[in-house]
């Protein structure tokens, strides 16, 4: 037998095994039970349009707030960590280690419940506000490290060139280093954004008013009242509808950036 024939046969056999496996799994599943438990059309119809106008909207809004807040705070932290002034460096390091090491759920719990008990101060915006502050704090710890890595990845020659032209250090950072750094860290930042979208589902622990609910909380409430798991499937689909185009967009941006270089 020729080698190429043998290879083709082997590959054919592998495909056959794969298809067989899929067929076996599909035929073994109890599709009726799955459909009535997870794909109930009536329950799905009931979830619309609120799942879009309230839940999905809030998920996007919370993510945007937490990301922008995290980005600003993360940038400050990254610069602090690179600062020649030691106390700033220590403070930034301690902050990053602390909030990167704690589960987001616990930080949210802390801001919603422990802070008011301890200081008699309640974060603005009620429970959702307290949860969002916690999310900003957690995401900024991760983003700070990403930004720092990006800044350090910019070739030192760039800074030297700018400085030799008489550019002020701050202006060098803003106009030369940071734009290049952000270009480098676009992929990990996207990762951070996608993780943040999912982390908004943890806000429920802080307590939610009806109009404040994001996708997961909304779906869980509905599961309990409708005695059917379809809302969870809907929520899952909406998360994908939000995240997939986003990652595509960033991939496109990245290709564009590469060409620009």
């Amino acid at each position: 037998m020729k080698r190429s024939t043998r290879r083709r046969l082997t590959r054919g056999a592998l495909y056959a095994v794969f298809i067989l496996a899929v067929v076996v799994i599909v035929s073994l599943a109890d599709w009726g039970a799955i459909r009535s438990n997870f794909f109930d059309v009536d329950v799905a119809i009931q979830a619309f349009p609120e799942i879009l106008t309230v839940a999905a909207k809030n998920t996007v809004l919370y993510t945007a707030i937490a990301f922008v807040g995290g980005l600003l705070l993360g940038l400050i932290l990254a610069l602090m960590k690179l600062s020649p002034v030691l106390p700033y460096r220590w403070a930034a390091t301690a902050y990053i280690e602390l909030f990167r090491g704690l589960p987001a759920l616990l930080v949210i719990f802390g801001f919603a419940f422990a802070v008011p008990i301890a200081f008699g101060w309640r974060p603005p915006g009620g429970s959702a506000g307290a949860g969002l502050i916690a999310l900003i704090i957690v995401s900024s710890a991760y983003i700070a490290e990403t930004i720092r890595a990006g800044i350090e990845a910019v070739p030192p020659g760039q800074v030297e060139a700018a400085r030799s032209l008489g550019m002020h250090p701050s202006w060098t950072m803003i106009s030369v280093v940071l734009p290049q750094a952000f270009r480098i860290i676009t992929p990990p930042l996207t990762n951070e954004l996608v993780i943040l979208i999912k982390d908004t589902s943890l806000l429920f622990i802080a307590g939610m008013a009806l109009g404040d609910r994001e996708l997961t909380t909304f779906a869980r409430d509905m599961v309990s009242s409708s005695a059917n798991a379809t809302p969870l499937v809907l929520a899952a689909l909406l998360y994908l509808i939000i995240t997939l185009p986003l990652t595509q967009l960033v991939a496109k941006l990245e290709r564009h950036n590469k060409r620009g270089r």
Partner: protein, 264 residues
């Protein structure tokens, strides 16, 4: 993952063989319940799903699950000559019927209120508990009735009948804030995030014990708890559990368990 092109078919083959092996295992795992004829997920045991903790209905004490639901279930299982097995699950999975449909347990016992919507997807036993809703407030609070909540915020458990009752009965400018469970509710009240908690009376009663909080009002909502199981193929199990429930009420054991948890 950046699998090299040539390794992809190999990976697929391994996955396929794995899947075949798994499905082969699944085949031999028939429900082994011919003996009792009840279609139990584990022979010789009544497997109960519950969202724990929810004192005084289900909570852990000295390494054992106790509480009104748990003690009642234990008595029912004993009456059926079965061991009691308890699986701690989330209330979402339980109320949606997913854990029951997935065969994780035979029956759900988790202070589940019987509602019309739930009855469409779940089969309930005879009611075993009449639930009152109640309003828990700090002892120095001015809130004495549900109408006093105007302009205040009140905490409820998300997805519960207490939440529904609250939303239908509070003044228009009351903020209703839903929390996942009593743990967060109580924390929120302590933190001052909410002015009051509206939920099942027995759960609120536990929080009055140290004298900081008090029950401002009780509400009759005609709510009853039932044990829940799957809609299809559970007729025999339902009948058997109902029979035990009636037996426990007759022989006084129900009252004994009731008084353990609800005598004031």
């Amino acid at each position: 993952m950046f699998a090299k092109r040539s390794t992809v078919p190999k990976t697929l083959a391994i996955a396929a063989i794995g899947a075949l092996a798994l499905s082969a295992c699944g085949g031999s795992d028939e429900p082994a319940a011919e003996e009792s004829g009840l279609g139990l997920v584990a022979e010789g045991a009544l497997t109960v799903c519950s969202d724990i903790p929810f004192a005084p209905f289900e909570y852990e004490e000295d390494g054992e699950y106790v509480g009104f639901d748990m003690d009642l279930m234990r008595a029912i299982a004993t009456g059926m000559d079965l061991e009691l097995e308890v699986v701690d699950v989330g209330f979402d999975g339980l109320a949606s019927g997913a854990v029951l449909a997935a065969g994780q347990c035979d029956i759900g016992a988790s202070a589940i209120t019987i509602t019309e919507e739930r009855s469409e997807n779940l089969a309930f036993t005879e009611p075993y508990y009449d639930s009152l809703q109640s309003l828990l407030v700090p002892v120095d609070s001015d809130v004495a009735s549900i109408d006093d909540l105007a302009g205040e915020s009140v905490g409820v458990q998300a997805g519960t009948t207490g939440e529904t009752y609250t939303r239908e009965n509070v003044p228009e400018d009351t903020e209703v804030v839903a929390f996942p469970s009593d743990a967060e509710l109580y924390s929120a009240l302590q933190a001052g995030n909410v002015a009051a908690i509206l939920q099942d009376l027995p759960v609120n009663l536990v929080h009055t014990e140290d004298g900081t909080y008090t029950i401002a009002a009780e509400f009759e909502t005609d709510e009853q708890y039932g044990f829940a199981t799957t809609k299809d193929g559970s007729e025999d199990l339902l009948a058997a559990v109902n029979e035990q429930l009636a037996e426990l009420r007759d022989n006084g054991e129900y009252d004994e368990i009731y008084n353990t948890y609800f005598s004031e």
